[in-house]
Subunit: 344 residues, 2 copies
Amino acid sequence: MNKGNKYGTHRVLEPKGTLPQPAQKLDNNMSIFDNEVLIDVQTLNIDSASFTQIKGACGADKVKMEEMILSIVAERGKMQNPVTGSGGMLIGTVKAVGPNFPNQDLKVGDKIATLVSLSLTPLNIKKVTNINLSNDQVDVDAQAILFASGLYAVLPTDLPEKLALAALDVAGAPAQVDRLVKEGNTVCIIGGGGKSGVLCCYQAMQKVGAKGKVIVVEYSKENAQRIKDLGLATDVLVGDATDVMDVYARVTEITGEEGCDVVINNVNVASTEMSSILITKDRGCVYFFSMATSFSKAALGAEGVGKDVDMIVGNGYAIGHADLTLDIIRKSKGIRELFEKLYV
Amino acid sequence: MNKGNKYGTHRVLEPKGTLPQPAQKLDNNMSIFDNEVLIDVQTLNIDSASFTQIKGACGADKVKMEEMILSIVAERGKMQNPVTGSGGMLIGTVKAVGPNFPNQDLKVGDKIATLVSLSLTPLNIKKVTNINLSNDQVDVDAQAILFASGLYAVLPTDLPEKLALAALDVAGAPAQVDRLVKEGNTVCIIGGGGKSGVLCCYQAMQKVGAKGKVIVVEYSKENAQRIKDLGLATDVLVGDATDVMDVYARVTEITGEEGCDVVINNVNVASTEMSSILITKDRGCVYFFSMATSFSKAALGAEGVGKDVDMIVGNGYAIGHADLTLDIIRKSKGIRELFEKLYV
Ligand SMILES: NC(=O)c1ccc[n+]([C@@H]2O[C@H](COP(=O)([O-])OP(=O)(O)OC[C@H]3O[C@@H](n4cnc5c(N)ncnc54)[C@H](OP(=O)(O)O)[C@@H]3O)[C@@H](O)[C@H]2O)c1
Ligand SMILES: NC(=O)c1ccc[n+]([C@@H]2O[C@H](COP(=O)([O-])OP(=O)(O)OC[C@H]3O[C@@H](n4cnc5c(N)ncnc54)[C@H](OP(=O)(O)O)[C@@H]3O)[C@@H](O)[C@H]2O)c1
């Protein structure tokens, strides 16, 4: 059995010397190296920015979307959207564990979710069996590889699998909210009515306490309404986050000119950097979880308006993020019901 | 006189509702609004990532570069590189101050540097008079507009103008180093031999003190050598920051497996995110000042290798950044001599 590199560099076909995530093409041959895990994949959870792009490009035609997904994987050896650069996650059953995979407690037959992006996971799809247009999930007959450094979670037995998959996909976001938001803060969550948004709202409400504020800006009336119904924010604004001056006017009406301590950006569309920056107070913090964020628009945009704010790139991983996220679902009956309706 | 918006939205031609930085096209008519400043521009300092791209695309042919610069400004009304999205800065003389510009101490005839990016500054070039291939500076006969929210610095009289221009262009970087680096830290500065790199090295050396480490990874042998000569780092590695596993191996040879507390990325080329992330310790921090940073490569790359690191978008502005940066030049004879040689 061949010896593999901890980070999976042995699977990189081009360009040489790089890691699997930035690589153009991975080797998706399914004979495992000594430190890899082979997974029989059941469902892909395509990243929202990627799924939205594919759906748009194919006019929501499932046959075309299937073709597009298959051709991306054929070309790259992984499900990485060439436009957004993003991936998603998967659930499946462990088929083989290499003798040098670090955690030998993982057993053949275990049901797991990968916590590393599909944008770096070698994947081989035999067949797409279903595409769910409303929740970004794609059922497949496929196999995938997890590297020695690859994070995963054994699926909990008290929650439906597809619910866990949906929640774990965005587990990094509420974990960062937990770190960034302090008691008494004013927080704004842009795209707060979506999947990651709902989880962030819950965590923000916990952290700000009775004197804090959690403001949601959400495009979809329906998504905004469910935030109100679930009591997950102190203020809910229905609006378009790309309309900078409108968002600025309406949020500062609530916060005063000073703005917010922390802004969390959870949208799945481009050009919302400036709305996020303008409503943040000086020395406040913007957390960009959205994969549609442009680095240069954020960096130069903040400078352009003379805003001394800390802008954080949404790392998908934070220690303990899976447990924190699944616990939100366990604690909030409302969110569990909502997610069961949407994702199961 | 027409009333202008604080952020310059009145100059946005398309798309409507957005701010000048993300806008496709600005109105670069040089009659000012009530709260604007008109500047007679002397020299543009094109952002390094942008200049490198233009120089590459034109095979370093000055005539072609001039054409490309003029055509970008003709199309966008601002000098924003369509590939990198970035701009740069300018120096010039105040020609007119609108009656409602916030700081009425600014006088016609004052020499200033703008501290907001060219990527949001209405610009009208009559003539390019010189392109300096080695220092990114372009002398022009041109006019530009500063908005009410636009930052600027009156040029100091004790430093040559072009030196101040060069240093102020990257003033955000050493200011953030000052905030992020603590006594005793191990810091790595990638692209540490360049303009912003030198300033970051100086500030990092000040902050880490006798027990800390400042490691430089620099591609150019010459740039690496001057860091050694100036004593601006404890360790200098000549290497290619896009070669992830090489950088990882050589930096961790110095730091041990644990890695660095703070990594500062100052390169002007793409695909160095993973090198930066892999050498950072868990719960450490990566500061991406490089405009060639890809948001998705950073976000998904860190997750992909299970690294719980804070990744910060290099905001070009921080309170006090201009003074801090000019003071470095005043305090370090070596850096002043180097910058005089390169930029004056
Ligand atoms: N950093 C990471 O590691 C990581 C990991 C996973 C996901 N992500 C990213 O996180 C983001 C959110 O993911 P998600 O799964 O929570 O997506 P989601 O459920 O689709 O949520 C996005 C929300 O934003 C709303 N929205 C869309 N356009 C808007 C606009 N112009 N103004 C205000 N709200 C708007 C959407 O409303 P509609 O329903 O009306 O469109 C939706 O409610 C995506 O960009 C995704 O790619 C990042
Ligand atoms: N965030 C902001 O607001 C802001 C503002 C201004 C500038 N910037 C950005 O900051 C970055 C640095 O600007 P600068 O003016 O300091 O540029 P610079 O003087 O050109 O410095 C870049 C340095 O990186 C080195 N380098 C290039 N490729 C490398 C590689 N593969 N491995 C290691 N080192 C490499 C260069 O060496 P060579 O000389 O051999 O190429 C040079 O020494 C640029 O990306 C610029 O766009 C950001």
